[in-house]
Amino acid sequence: MCLAVPGRILTLFGDDPAFRTANVDFCGVRKTVNLAFTPEAVPGDFVLVHVGFAITRIDEEEASRTFKYLQQIGALADEGIVLPVDLPAEAQSA
């Protein structure tokens, strides 16, 4: 029910903030999405879409930071290196 899917904004339509929409690409499937809750979103941005609304612009910087950390864990494990129990501060991104 709370499922939300990431997609990339292609084009924007409309000026009225409550009715503004975008054409959003989900790996080839395109849908019209309401942008009332993400007024800052522009073409090229990834947004998280839930029941026809973009509920947030995905923070690329946060995503790549977390992911680099996660990759590091995976890479270390592949090398048979056991990671210390404490998480580096960057993973605790609260």
Partner: protein, 362 residues
């Protein structure tokens, strides 16, 4: 798909599972609140990757599952009226009321339609001025702004044939109820990532402090959930009880203010009955008086019903994490997704349906 595939990487998942195994020195019981997370945990067999000392229990986080029986009965009543087009997200249609469901109503001739968005229901209303179009507004905080926006747009456009049957519930009051229960075993929560995308993780601090329970807001992919579990186990081992945010690519402290504003303009907080659990104070949303013309309960003058759950169903205990689906004598026998006794067996996100689909042969 970007932001999805990389969070399903098996190497990273196994590395995180290994880290959890090395960190956990004591038994810990963790609850995921959100049904979407329950589904991921089951689908990817995450509990099988964890050490035996880390136990996952499933929370009440499926809005479809906690919509009260009598509201389903009322939805069926409205759908059966002449001139009504009843619209709903698909997973509500199979939820059994006390004697039938919305699919059955459709088979009996009612105009019941599945929509993907409340805006689709609004479109049907615009295009069919002679019909009363009713939308079943179900959901947690994730969905509330979208449903609020549909009502707000209807009022602004002066649509007189669009109304919403509202069954909106809020996550923090349900977590409070679970924590206050003397039989609660939950020691840490995976917080609901998309609910927090809207509301921010700030509002969970009060719960963490009052009950000294760690809460880590998590995403929905296997790697997200394993990282959230790892962060929770870390906190528990160190005796900390903080709110942390694993899902930082979508969630921040304050949440989506534009979405919260429309939600507060259209809805107000009220007591709500949760199916299988009972009434929880200030745990849901109802339409404000200014939007009464779009409130299906008032438009159709619904009278309160009092109906009883099937006796054999233990969904109340399952939804609070006190029992596992497999503890129910009816599970997989008299209660299956094709023929559900209770709501958690209906929605794919319900704990019983997820167990049936992925763990019944385990």
């Amino acid at each position: 798909m970007r932001y999805v595939d990389e969070y399903r990487d098996p190497g990273i998942a196994h590395a995180l599972a290994g880290k959890i195994t090395r960190t956990a020195t004591k038994p810990w019981v963790l609850m995921e609140v959100c049904g979407g997370q329950t589904h991921t945990l089951m689908r990817y067999g995450i509990s099988d990757l964890l050490p035996e000392s880390v136990e996952l229990v499933h929370g009440p986080g499926c809005p479809v599952c906690v919509t009260p029986l009598e509201l389903i009965d009322q939805a069926i009543q409205i759908a059966g009226l002449p001139d009504v087009t009843f619209t709903s997200y698909g997973d509500m249609l199979r939820v059994p009321g006390s004697h039938s469901d919305l699919f059955q109503a459709r088979a009996n001739g009612a105009d019941v339609r599945i929509v993907y968005s409340p805006l689709d229901a609004l479109k049907i209303a615009r295009e069919n001025p002679s019909r009363q179009v009713v939308f079943f507004g179900v959901g947690f905080e994730t969905t509330a702004p979208a449903n609020a926006m549909a009502v707000w747009q209807a009022r602004r456009e002066g649509l007189t044939n669009f109304s919403m049957l509202v069954s909106h519930v809020l996550v923090p009051p349900a977590m409070r109820l679970i924590l206050e229960s003397p039989s609660s075993r939950v020691q840490g929560f995976i917080g609901p990532g998309h609910v927090c995308t809207i509301m921010g993780f700030g509002e969970y601090k009060a719960l963490a402090e009052e009950f000294h329970v760690p809460i880590v807001v998590g995403g929905f992919e296997p790697v997200d959930l394993l990282e959230a579990i790892s962060m929770l186990v870390c906190q528990l081992e160190e005796g900390r009880a903080e709110v942390e945010n694993q899902y930082s690519r979508s969630v921040d402290y304050h949440g989506n203010i534009a979405a919260q504003n429309i939600m507060r303009e259209v809805f107000t907080v009220a007591d709500r009955k949760w199916r299988g659990i009972g009434e929880i104070a200030e745990s849901g949303l109802v339409l404000r008086n200014e939007f009464a013309a779009h409130d299906a309960e008032r438009v159709f003058n619904l009278q309160p019903l009092n109906v009883e759950e099937p006796r054999e169903c233990i969904s109340a205990l399952v939804l609070q994490g006190l029992k596992k689906p497999i503890d129910c004598p009816a599970f997989g026998k008299r209660c299956t997704p094709m023929n559900p006794l209770g709501a958690p067996m209906v929605s794919a996100e319900g704990a019983c349906a997820a167990w049936y689909q992925y763990k019944r042969h385990a």
